[in-house]
């Protein structure tokens, strides 16, 4: 038990460090850039209007006060942390005066839902099939799966989503290709709404699954084909232990530990993939919000999405790390 606590403590420290450095980097990148948020916002506001010079000056002062950019950078950094802890990153520009954090929190459940469901599907299917392929190395069907996985896995997330969009948007339009749910459905805990959400999530989730499952499959196959040559597997086979018990209790369980580590390590990349897929299918998650914010030159919103994604990914990795002792008793005993 003490080993487990030690392990958790180390991970928690790492979590804090990741959040600290990630959020600080986000702040530094946005604030050390030569482009002033005040001037770019002002440029957008005055571009299609005819304002008096006094009004522009007044706007400039108001924006400077709002962004707080007239203070020294260190003071700005401290203020940023204080306000971040309070969950306040100022109003967004593209949906003024809605606070940027409100927009982010509205988008977060969509991304988390899409990400979690596709990761769970990928992890289960990929690892199960991969383990079977590693154990039964002569099965034609599973070899075929290997070829498919190898062909799909390296293709960039965007291209797969784009091909699905063309197939199901132009060539055979059966699935909705845009949005999180139908416009004519009321948001709420109804079957109709849930059905609409699931229907709209099929294509985004499918593109994540198609790209993601190959990595788990190939990784698990390689791991299992190494584990089956271990002495304890041969011993169990000689002792007449049932095949299902061997595969489930010894082979998969041992091979799953590095896969869980891999899940934690690739989570940042998977998150990036989700962001891209959301953009392709116009899914109302963090990714679409980020692209909109960049397009609209919205400083607070970009900063908010950046900090929340860094934090969310770090927390998710921490949670995966907490699961480790369930699989690997050595972590508990150490």
């Amino acid at each position: 038990m003490q080993g487990y606590l030690w392990f958790i403590g180390k991970r928690a420290l790492q979590l804090l460090a990741v959040i600290f450095f990630g959020v600080s980097a986000t702040f530094l990148v946005t604030h050390l850039s030569p482009i002033s948020p005040v001037e770019s916002a002002l440029g957008r506001m005055t571009a299609r209007s005819n304002s008096a010079p006094e009004a522009v000056q007044a706007m400039r002062e108001a924006l400077t006060a709002m962004y707080g950019v007239d203070e020294p950078i260190l003071q700005q950094y401290l203020n940023f942390w204080v306000r971040l802890v309070q969950g306040d990153l100022g109003p967004s520009m593209i949906a003024f005066p809605t606070p940027a954090m409100t927009l982010v929190m509205r988008a977060l459940p969509w991304t988390v839902g899409l990400l979690t469901s596709s990761i769970i599907i990928n992890f289960l299917i990929g690892n199960l099939l991969g383990a079977l392929a590693g154990y039964n190395q002569n099965s034609r069907l599973l070899k075929g799966f290997g070829v498919v996985a190898m062909g799909l896995q390296p293709i960039p997330q965007y291209i797969v989503a784009f091909i699905l969009l063309i197939i199901f948007g132009f060539l055979w339009p059966v699935l909705p290709i845009s949005g999180g749910f139908s416009m004519d459905v009321q948001m709420g805990w109804t079957w109709q709404f849930a059905g609409s959400v699931i229907l709209h999530s099929i294509l985004p989730a499918a593109s994540l699954v198609l790209v993601g499952f190959g990595g788990w499959f190939l990784g698990m196959r390689a791991l299992v084909s190494n584990v089956v040559t271990e002495d304890y597997v041969t011993y169990a086979e000689l002792a007449g232990v049932r095949r299902n018990t061997i595969v489930g209790g010894y082979v998969i369980r041992n091979a799953l530990v590095p896969q869980l580590t891999a899940l934690a390590m690739t989570l940042g990349g998977v998150f990036s993939g989700t962001v891209i897929v959301e953009q392709v299918f116009n899914y109302p998650g963090l990714g679409s919000l980020l692209i909109d914010a960049v397009g609209g030159g919205d400083f607070s919103l970009v900063l908010a999405v950046g900090t929340v994604s860094v934090t969310a990914v770090a927390v998710a990795i921490f949670i995966i790390d907490l699961l480790h002792p369930l699989l690997d008793p050595r972590v508990r005993a150490e």
Binding site: Q14, A17, V18, F21, G22, A25, T26, V29, T30, S33, I35, M150, G151, Q153, P154, I155, P156, Q157, Y158, I159, F162, I163, I166, F170, L218, A222, S225, N226, T229, M265, L267, G268, G269, F271, S272, G273, V275, I276, Q279, L290, I291, V294, V302, V305, G306, S309, V310, V313, A314, I317
Partner: protein
């Protein structure tokens, strides 16, 4: 070295297929040096011509010959991938070898930093850089930024090998012979991790070209430089699919898929070469 290649081609179908695909792509990219047209110019040929003997890949709505456009795009994308992969390999070698050999607090500190880099989601960070740099973000700057994020996985891999090398006999001999630490790392340990460097080089190219495609399609790079991503950006911008100029989308997509599968197969089969047990099984031993 040649014997290794011969064995790989003979016993490893994946390596052979990958090598063929990558060779085709590289030759195609090299053709761009003989391009008769300046690929940055627009309205040079009749727009929207389907593939024909005159224009092998057709022409796009901006009046460019897609064959030469694609060839230059491929060269630019591959160059980008090679720059990122080379730079990030240097970082991961330095971190991995030093961390594994020196150990102690240096190891702990480097791996701590490593874990931070692993956990940061790269795509939002790149978008952030585009957001603040806008048009100052040319492909070389982008390559530097990506290289700064592309090393942690492989540094860990190299470290695990270096840990094993540290306790080998020859390392001790070198230490007693008075070799300095940098010299041991460069002359004694570096050759052992070179196969990993080659295999991860391909994987890293895949990663960086894929990210570049994504950023470019969204318009978040220098869209006037022809790369695979910017070609798709312009195709989307002119609604190529709706207008019916399908070859403008299909050809880049097919070439990307070929490039990626080729590089991936090379990376995977080299990985297998590093692990001799699976190689022996394949050869039927």
């Amino acid at each position: 070295m040649f014997a290794v290649f011969r064995d790989l081609i003979r016993y490893n179908i994946e390596f052979a297929v990958g090598l063929v695909l990558v060779t085709i792509i590289v030759i195609f990219a090299l053709l761009s040096f003989f391009s008769p047209v300046d690929t940055t110019l627009i309205y040079m040929v009749a727009p929207d011509m389907p593939p024909s003997p005159q224009y092998w890949f057709g022409t796009n709505s901006r009046g460019q010959d897609l064959f030469w456009q694609m060839s230059t795009a491929m060269r630019n994308s591959l160059t980008f991938g090679i720059i990122v992969a080379t730079l990030s390999r240097i970082i991961s070698l330095a971190v991995g070898l030093a961390s594994g050999y020196i150990g102690g607090w240096v190891d702990r500190l480097l791996m701590f930093i490593n874990d931070i880099f692993v956990a940061v989601p790269i795509f939002p960070v790149l978008v952030l850089f585009y957001f603040v740099l806008r048009n100052n973000l040319d492909s070389l700057t982008l390559a530097f930024i990506m290289a700064a994020f592309g090393w942690p996985f492989d540094a860990r891999l190299i470290r695990s090998v270096a840990l094993g090398l540290k306790h080998r006999e020859f390392t001790r001999h070198a230490v007693f012979a008075g070799m300095s630490t940098p010299k041991i790392l460069l002359e004694e340990h570096l050759p052992y991790v070179m196969p990993i460097v080659f295999a991860t080089f391909m994987a890293n190219m895949l990663w960086s070209i894929g990210l570049e495609v994504t950023l470019a399609v969204l318009g978040f790079t220098n869209i006037n430089l022809p790369t695979i991503g910017t070609m798709l950006y312009w195709a989307n911008n002119h609604s190529a699919m709706v207008v019916g100029v399908w070859w403008w989308i299909a050809i880049p997509v097919v070439l990307i898929v070929v490039t990626f599968i080729g590089l991936f197969l090379l990376a995977v089969s080299m990985n297998e070469y590093i692990d001799p047990r699976s190689r022996l099984r394949r050869m039927g031993a």
